[in-house]
Subunit: 475 residues, 3 copies
């Protein structure tokens, strides 16, 4: 094997590009590397842990569910059918092994991307592979991974323990029965695997299933969801149900950060129009805006931490969406505004002591301009970590460089892996801890922090802050 | 004392993170470190220098006037009352010593912020303190600082000399009597402490006191400020008065950078509506826009350098504003546009040889996109330094990285401290000079500048450019 | 000579600021330094190569055609007349030698700019000059350069070979006769110097000459350009003509990235209004938007690669424009939006296999937010290199830092010099290859890439990707 065909993870990777910084970063990382993983925001499937069955094969585990991976292949002309994904057009698709080989053949496309970093970490540390993935090693990989997946140590619950995952949160819609979480609870895993309340399906009237969802919400709760007060009571009830099954947080994925503060008469009129499917795009936006304020009010009552993930243009590729549906790698960030958008909510609840709103962004120009000044002032606001496209080495460095000087470290909440790719969770936390070590070491090297201060911060970012911000310390 | 409890300022701090750069930066900084301070834009209180009385105590000197500090404490749930600040609600407040202790206990929140850098510099170099501030050293700090403040070498005029401040500009509203500056003039300090003409109070019709201010302006000047020509004459008169007391510049704090070029009939109509309080928000904006163009016209007549500080959403926290008033750490930057906004003013005066307009921004995305290209073309335009939230190590580096390649160094104006915190002025200039040394050293290290070129630039940025841009060399 | 007066190009320039990175970058650059130059997008004058006559003098070669240079001088109060440029006001102008001396005297203004880097490279490597340009060396430079220009090795075709330019594309308007390219073709240089189809003059109805241009287009093609179908046929014909003379690409310089998908009835109505000069600004914008979609359709037919260069506010300085015309250094970038703007075009052709659209930007905030996610998904989209103001060391680093993690290296197209300054072409490619070497070395140093992977990427960026993206490999 020539050098580039050997798969190795250098112990100093991502700790810096000069020895002065690396030597400090190495000491910092040594103290955070082994800390348990807190994963307070993610999208793994709770049935994996509830049922604890083996995963099928390499492609269905690592390739087809991961839009980071197939979007890149698609951008270079590889069809989703070649990757084994079935669309509504029923055209022929590759079998899982052929799909895996197509991926392997184009693995060089991922050089420089975080997907490559995570995958190499998975291949090396989880599966013990020694060669780089390419068209020559594709078959070996496929067989090796499939074989491993049948062994007990690759069962989902075993992986949780092997990965030292102290707490992992999944995300469920408001109508979810939480059956898996009930099973987990019964098995004594209710603190290790918790849910998160994500009510977009009953709040976003631009969805085609909105009206039906309100009817289901009425059935589940026994409330009249056509009345504003009944609708709110139903939501309150669902939040309570989620909290009983471990939820400490809610999550809201909105096109914008717009909030509103309307009177209940206006709210009833909006709800009526939304329910009847006659609301304009502006009215749907206003309804979502109002609902963020209502969710804040309920958070103050029930203590659930609120998360806002705005600013993605979902399903931008119309023909791909019509054939393959949602989450196919065609969600594109938009420029976003927080200062005016959040004012109605801040005017109402910005100074409430028992309220936490964690803000995320896909528009990095808001880090230093809007988000750090907002979080550096309002007691309720905290900054979520670098999100999605920006959850990468350069992206995480920019996040720290652009938020820390105004917001400090203590208005941030540590790392979120935000993933449905279970196997990549240790890789992602490993990378985040390395990048924080590099960043802090750079400041120690220029005498901006003392090393013991940096060490405290590193441990806080890796472990203490996420527990605290998501109220997992009192869990 | 363990390491983290010793307060030390490393001689190489902020000069770089590898020895290659630090060794060059050290040589550059050695040549700028001792240069006198030019402070052409700031907000110290001129009565301090006019009256030359001792400051009261640590809290009232360092804590309660500094919105950088109390906003961070507030963001972590510490109330302004706990910091000794009295609101209109008349609730009980902490005494100055308790306030100081609350601050000290949370001093770790400032790790990574420029406030921490400036404060540690003040504690160490101005007060000679040897321990880091924390809850244990809080009382020692409080007593030590208070005692020091009573000694003659801590009188405001002594500090000016001790800090080697060659010129400092304060900022006064258009209606100010400049009594302090008259006293300073009489005492022979009229060149060391100068004023700046800031007419927002008589130009911004969104202020509740605008109409009353126009009446006061009429009284002071004997002009009819209800007539457009009388209003302009009154402003011209006040500019002359300020210039006689040392002003070489005007300053304009507007929500946007919008300018306009209306005919005098339109101007009279707008003035009428603004005066009567019936102008819409758009009309108020148009009036401010027109007034920027008028101020430019007067600058061409009287030679005062014009400064524009746009893009802050002031007093974003409504309840804090109603209880505690302005400047309570809730000013949040907005995305801003310069290219279209400045066109009317540039069309009229952009090529005038006797005109300087210094632009500032809180939206860093405009550095490379709009500001550097504008300043790299228009003879009248110069770029002010990294402002407010961005006056920090990473912020100043981004400013140089993003403006220099298009605007060069010589379309910038050196450093502004922009502070009301007198004691921090040397700390701020020290930091700015270190960061410029680091930046220039990085370019020398990659053979982009020769070291003697970098040295000339370093000295220009620290001393010659601010004198020249603000016309202090002909002062 | 003191150090700063010696003109030297350090062999390690722009390879990094610490030895760890420089030593790797040196090895990478050694493998790309000598690769032939592919220049697929530029603005040299094809008549230079067709006629192969000597250039006139230093000023007319290097100074007056280069808006990067005279805009900086203008920004510091040097008039265009002092630089020898004649306006419509017929005021007296400096002779070429005086103009050169004015430039030389202010050469320090360019410290830190890419113009300085390129010029020093030209002075040193092309002309063999040993002293830095300044007022003392001005005359020596002027005589030396003028003398050199008369020698055969400075003839345009000699320079092409000396510079190892394998392919260079010029840019011509839709009405151009391509006379020079016909001559070049006859001389066997038709593959080395190719044209690019730039139809802005017959697509942008905001131009004062638009209606006349449509009439000329009708004359040239024999089509009825007042009919929508005739107009499209005429464009198709011209594209074919350009392709026959070597064009592999089209280029579109629009104020925004807006696209549209109208029916042919709407198109005919818009064309009518535009032709008659009665279209509103919005209708002109909509017409341009529609024409981008039409050009994409034709690209799918004829295989020409499409390039979009949006987001410049052209001729911002009104008085300079009225006296000196276009391209006088007063084009200023604007904030720009791609996600919504490109949707109509992407909905129609985004998944076409035989379509390439290369996107450029002047708004760096779109790199990570919009462009990398778009290019990392759509098969037709590729990212052009850092453009214009951002074609600089820091700008190119930001481009890689902000695009690579989402788009990878293989959704980019290598370097474009985009220049009309023939002599600076090797300087620009040299700089781009050095910066890519530095960037890649930084990632090797932190064990993010293996060195052999970085080497492959470096060679791809320097040579293979531009050939492939612009279809020059099948040329």
């Amino acid at each position: 094997m020539t050098q580039s065909q050997v798969l190795t993870l250098h112990p100093d990777r991502f700790l810096g590009a000069n020895e002065n910084i690396v030597s400090i970063a190495r000491r910092l990382f040594a103290e955070t590397e082994q800390l348990p993983i807190i994963s307070p925001h993610g999208h793994t499937n709770p049935s994996w842990f509830a049922e604890n069955k083996p995963f099928d094969n390499a492609s269905e585990l690592l390739l087809t569910p991961d839009h980071y991976i197939f979007r890149m292949l698609y951008s270079q002309g590889i069809s989703l059918q070649q990757l084994g994904m079935q669309g509504t057009d029923k055209s022929a698709i590759a079998d899982p092994k052929s799909a895996w080989c197509a991926f392997a053949k184009h693995y060089h496309l991922f050089l420089g991307t975080p997907s490559r970093i995570w995958l190499d970490h998975v291949f090396s540390t989880v599966f013990g592979l020694k060669e780089i993935l390419n068209e020559h090693s594709a078959a070996l990989y496929y067989e090796h991974i499939n074989a491993a997946l049948q062994s007990p140590k690759f069962l989902p619950r075993s992986l949780l323990d092997r990965f030292q995952i102290e707490t992992i949160a999944t995300t469920e819609g408001a109508l979810d029965s939480l059956a898996s979480h009930q099973l987990l609870n019964a098995d004594g895993l209710g603190k290790q695997v918790i849910t998160t309340f994500r009510p977009d399906d009953v709040v976003d009237a631009s969805r085609e299933d909105f009206s039906g969802n309100l009817e289901k919400l009425a059935e589940i709760t026994g409330e009249d969801t056509t009345s504003w007060q009944g609708y709110l009571s139903a939501l309150r009830q669902r939040r309570h149900f989620f909290a009983q099954l471990g939820a400490t947080a809610t999550d809201h994925g909105h096109p914008s950060a717009q909030t509103a503060d309307l009177d209940s008469g206006q709210c009833q009129l909006l709800l009526d129009k939304c329910k009847q499917g006659i609301a304009s795009a502006e009215e749907q936006e206003l309804f979502r805006a109002q609902m963020l304020t209502q969710m804040a009010a309920m958070s103050i009552e029930d203590g659930l931490v609120m998360q806002l993930h705005p600013g993605s243009f979902r399903n931008h590729n119309a023909s791909l969406f019509s054939t393959f549906g949602r989450d196919k790698g065609a969600d594109i960030p938009l420029a976003i505004e927080y200062v005016r958008a959040l004012k109605p909510l801040m005017d109402k609840y910005g100074n409430e002591p028992n309220f936490t709103l964690i803000l995320f962004t896909l528009d990095e120009s808001t880090y230093a301009r809007e988000l750090a000044p907002l979080a550096g002032h309002y007691p309720c606001l905290k900054l979520g970590p670098a999100w999605w496209f920006h959850d990468s080495p350069e992206g995480m460095l920019r996040y720290r460089q652009q938020t820390t000087e105004t917001a400090g470290f203590y208005n941030t909440v540590g790392f979120n892996d935000d993933t449905r790719a279970l196997l990549s969770i240790p890789a992602r936390h490993d990378l985040a801890r390395r990048i924080d070590a590099q960043f802090l070491a750079g400041w120690v090297a220029q005498h901006r922090l003392q090393e013991d201060q940096a060490l405290d911060i590193a441990k806080d970012l890796a472990y203490r802050l996420p527990k605290q911000a998501y109220k997992l310390d009192t869990n």
